[in-house]
Symmetry: C2
Amino acid sequence: MARTEISTLGEFGLIDHLTKNNEIRNSSTILTVGDDGAVIDHFGRQTVVSTDLLIEGIHFDLSYTPLKHLGYKSVVVNLSDIYAMNATPTQITVSIAFSNRFSLEALEEFYDGVYAACNLYNVDLVGGDTSSSNKGLIISVTAIGEVAPDKFVSRKGANNMDLICVSGDLGAAFLGLTLLEREKKIFAETGSQPDLENQAYIVGRLLKPEARKDVVAWLNENEIIPSAMIDVSDGLSSDLLHICKQSDKGCVLYEDKLPINDEAKEFAYKLQLDPTACILSGGEDYELLFTIPQTDFEKIKNNPDISVIGYITEKEEGSNIITRAGNKHKLVAQGWNHAKQN
Amino acid sequence: MARTEISTLGEFGLIDHLTKNNEIRNSSTILTVGDDGAVIDHFGRQTVVSTDLLIEGIHFDLSYTPLKHLGYKSVVVNLSDIYAMNATPTQITVSIAFSNRFSLEALEEFYDGVYAACNLYNVDLVGGDTSSSNKGLIISVTAIGEVAPDKFVSRKGANNMDLICVSGDLGAAFLGLTLLEREKKIFAETGSQPDLENQAYIVGRLLKPEARKDVVAWLNENEIIPSAMIDVSDGLSSDLLHICKQSDKGCVLYEDKLPINDEAKEFAYKLQLDPTACILSGGEDYELLFTIPQTDFEKIKNNPDISVIGYITEKEEGSNIITRAGNKHKLVAQGWNHAKQN
């Protein structure tokens, strides 16, 4: 494969090259890449902003992550935050820093993924920054969205007795990560080619997640306004506890209501992992976790893509999970802290 | 000095701690730190967005950069981009990734600088991301501003015969960098304490730059709307060539009109550097470079803080500088490419 050194273009040549096919999809995008700032017109709407920093060796491993997928995912995880506010993403900025081990072709692959996400989610790339790095790849994405005045949904509004709902299924991204890490280790030790055991579902959930644009659209169509919403990025426990903390409430979850994909569950058993632990602490599922008043139950109960997994309580009752055996356990946030200790 | 390990707080405890004194200054800030996104109301205004990625060892050297100054500068360089659009910055997001060599006290110092800049420039910190890094400190700042519809000034609008103007003086930040790098090298080789030779001006220009909020305000008060504007971050040549390229024009600069501080000029001679080269290629001055029609000359000529340094030509005439001796040289962009080659 051709390898073009980035130094042959320089920073500005590189930006021109990587953005030459950049399309504008939103009429609110007035000025885009190539100036000190982008200009966005949000006449009579509210602007929602979210940002993420992704670092090689911390957030992703290039030994099993194709660059195109990484570009796609870097955008999608930010858009997921905008949808979790009940807003519509409209623009993104993408900054990258890379060491000289990256060729122009490698950056093009990354941007192919960025543009694929822009295309699918109808957002405009309007700016960013490029830089060299002394080690590895660093990505920073900021997403901007819009919402009708005061129609945004924060983490704060959950009320006592509200139903706790989640879209899709949980835990699969973590199982995909576990599989890829296992195969990486085996390859390093023995040179054996990775055996992904036809686990396309769990690997896909990790490497190419989608943001739940469709769920937000469905909620709007059905005139359901969640009282609180968050996307599941750190793991169900951690993210639900954010809603509880910011709403000053407690919760009850039911283990037997937690949604998991069948293949993912089987694979968890094979690895001797508890599927419930994968769901609670796994993270990176990018599903939407939200609370609704009980009066909306009739509207939601026949949607097979949304599970009612528990309810909100007063704060004094704490945050608990009822196991299949009927035992009550305190819900504990793992995720980032957990990762740090390992 | 006390050292608190960040792992004792966890990510969310850390965010709570670092943002507990975060004040909201703009009524457009509707929802701030602590949710999936921030919410900003820009009723009837246009939103301007700019972002920068700053990496230890590439953009800053902690051996001579106090963390508080670094926090301040990280914000200011982004605000400078917003002012360079003739807009008013209103919100920022700040993301940081840090290795375990950073203590909580170190991050507090960094955020003290961030908040000092927010306070002086009247902007709200509305979000961000924190992460661990496997090496050094990584900072990503996104600034958001607002401007009345279509009053933004891009790099594209320069017209033939427009005057080229720049605020303040140029080249000093580069000389400050040169001095600090020299003293670092001497310290590494001999252990001698740094001798900054009372060069407070040039060191201050590097470590604690300001964005030219005052210049944008003055232009507005005097009803001067630049035809094109950019901030001087990469060096005068590089930044002026951006205006020329995007406006499809050429330019003539006069060496004897280029503004430099007296102390900076003397120090350049002492180091056997050409002051003009420092001005043209130095960068990091964060002054505003802009073009105005000749009819605005009367308004601007008595402002001692703005220098008229040349004029815009048709593209065919190229981009040139007339030296003190009356010779004509082609203007060449250095800066980032230049830095890469060394």
